[in-house]
Chain length 329, copies 2
């Protein structure tokens, strides 16, 4: 192994990749929050399609200031917690190491850049289906590929990217180095914008949505809007990707998006990173994303109603007994 | 009274206006469906802000062929039942009388025109809040103004419009003759498209939506889209109407839209008349309504899931206990 690693956010994503690196012999330091006591005593348990394993003892921390400086700090928290990065990153990065941001959305590197500077930040997207099913217990269900590269300098696969790639591959992780992470991020948005959003707004799994012609057509129109916005922003994606995104989703196992799980669990939704940042980028490029704007506002209402004290649901459930009232207008 | 009237669809709307005409001495014939037995025996009961009254005996029919020819036949069924008009209209209109269509949406006169011809069809919009609270029992809660005029010949208040107007006014109904029903219909769509749709999609009352800045902004963007489409279609509405629609809705009593009540009661939704027809009209005028398209598709999915055998809700309720699952992507 070439590097030592800090995992900031050791959940479904950080627990899996950090666990695999540690299991392959890398020096890995895990920052934990709610699971700290459990993991310090019992370690990590990973069930994965790439092979199950237990790590009875891991380097567990609940205070980032107690972490040693690491060569690579992996940011694996939700973007909704990014305001904590100014406390979380200085500890493990104080030796001058790099930061690899593995988060959803657009422009999400900015919060890490604000802490450690642009030169030290790498950017990655994970195409992963993984659950945290209990304290320190990760279940990796499907996919898992990471695409990563330089955060801002598009066009080159640098030596540091190649050397991190080697570590991940040694650990059995499917990973690719990408010369243009901007395109990769927009490609992931082709899926995340329609399916994360609609799964919350319509309270539906991808399977349900793909069984109904209206939602297939809706998804196609949103994906097309994202595709066009990407092009306007300087990240051209082949138009074939529109139908591919639909076809891949039709063939997926019934799947709850991360945003739907966040919604169901009462966590904040990544509306800013996944919807508002692309809308703002498109606007700056002289374009607009009206469909995505509708989704962003609908999500903001649903999130506010669920979390806010003032906005109670109009009815307890979407499933109602028929009422006899018959009102006009 | 100048005319005899047939009421096709004697519910919250037809029962109120037909009842008021009958109560003022007009000859009125009521076509009923589920309430026929009750109304034939017990008549109609109307509670209205314009005055309560009982009609212990009314001319009730459950077969349109048994109805006498009338001077004016009022179409007060939901547009989702318009495929029945070819059976419902010939009876009461066989003497050559006129048809006054009091339905929501755009282009909704076409189905009546197909039965009796363009020359005999008048068009009206009701700004009404009325419930059917039991068999033959109407509760008129708020508003109630009718705006009506010639269906297709814009620009003139014809003698037949004036003479129907006189009957309605004699009966105490608030009514205006309009020279351009196209503008009136689009003005009503300024409200119906955002608030009917969002009340179903977000499972929310107008009050809840107006308490949240995200939904106010969303409503404003949809209203602006409808306003612009109306102009492109040749029906210019003053831009002041956009903010007026928002302000009126903010001041409304907590209100369930007709579409939300239809959804809750398991009835079909007026997606074609209220959303798809304006989208098609805008397209024909070389414009597009992307926000309205998103709403139409979302509604189609929700309606199909509720009614269809194949599409079950992903979860029984929007209100869930927090889950510990924490999944990525």
């Amino acid at each position: 192994m070439n590097h030592s690693y800090a995992i900031v956010g050791s959940g479904a994503l950080g627990g899996l990749y950090g666990g695999m690196l540690a299991n392959a012999g890398a020096e890995v330091h895990f920052l934990l929050h709610s699971d700290y006591d459990h993991v310090r005593t019992h370690g990590l348990k990973v069930e994965s399609q790439w092979g199950d394993f237990d790590l009875p003892r891991v380097n567990a921390y609940n205070d980032p200031r107690a972490m040693p400086p690491c060569d690579v700090t992996i940011v694996a928290i939700k973007t909704t917690l990014n305001d904590k990065l100014s406390e979380l990153l200085p500890g493990p990065t104080r030796g001058g190491g790099n930061v690899l941001v593995l988060q959803n959305g657009l422009g999400i590197e900015a919060d890490s850049i604000a802490v450690v500077g642009e030169d030290r930040v790498l950017s990655g997207c994970c195409f992963l289906c993984s659950n945290k099913v209990g304290p320190g217990h990760i279940r990796h269900l499907d996919n898992g590929r990471i695409a990563f590269g330089e955060g801002r300098q598009f066009g080159q696969i640098t030596p540091r990217v190649r050397s991190i790639l080697a570590d991940f591959r040694s650990a059995g992780i499917e990973i690719e180095a990408e010369p243009n992470m901007g395109i990769v991020r927009w490609k992931k948005l082709l899926w995340n914008i329609p399916f994360n959003s609609l799964s919350v707004i319509l309270d539906a799994s991808t399977e349900e949505m793909m069984r109904c012609e209206a939602t297939v057509e809706l998804a196609r129109s949103i994906i097309t809007e994202v595709h066009d916005a990407a092009g306007r922003c300087g990240f051209p994606i082949k138009s074939k990707a529109i139908e591919t995104t639909i076809e891949v989703t039709k063939k997926m196992v019934p799947y709850d998006s991360s945003m739907r799980l966040d919604y169901l669990a009462g966590r904040p939704l990544e509306i800013d990173a996944i919807l508002k940042a692309p809308i703002a980028a498109a606007r700056q490029a002289g374009s607009s994303m009206p469909r995505t704007e509708v989704l962003a506002h609908q999500l903001a209402f649903l999130a506010a109603r669920r979390c806010g004290p003032g906005i109670a649901p109009a009815s307890a459930s979407r499933e109602h007994a028929p009422r006899s009232a018959d009102r006009s207008t």
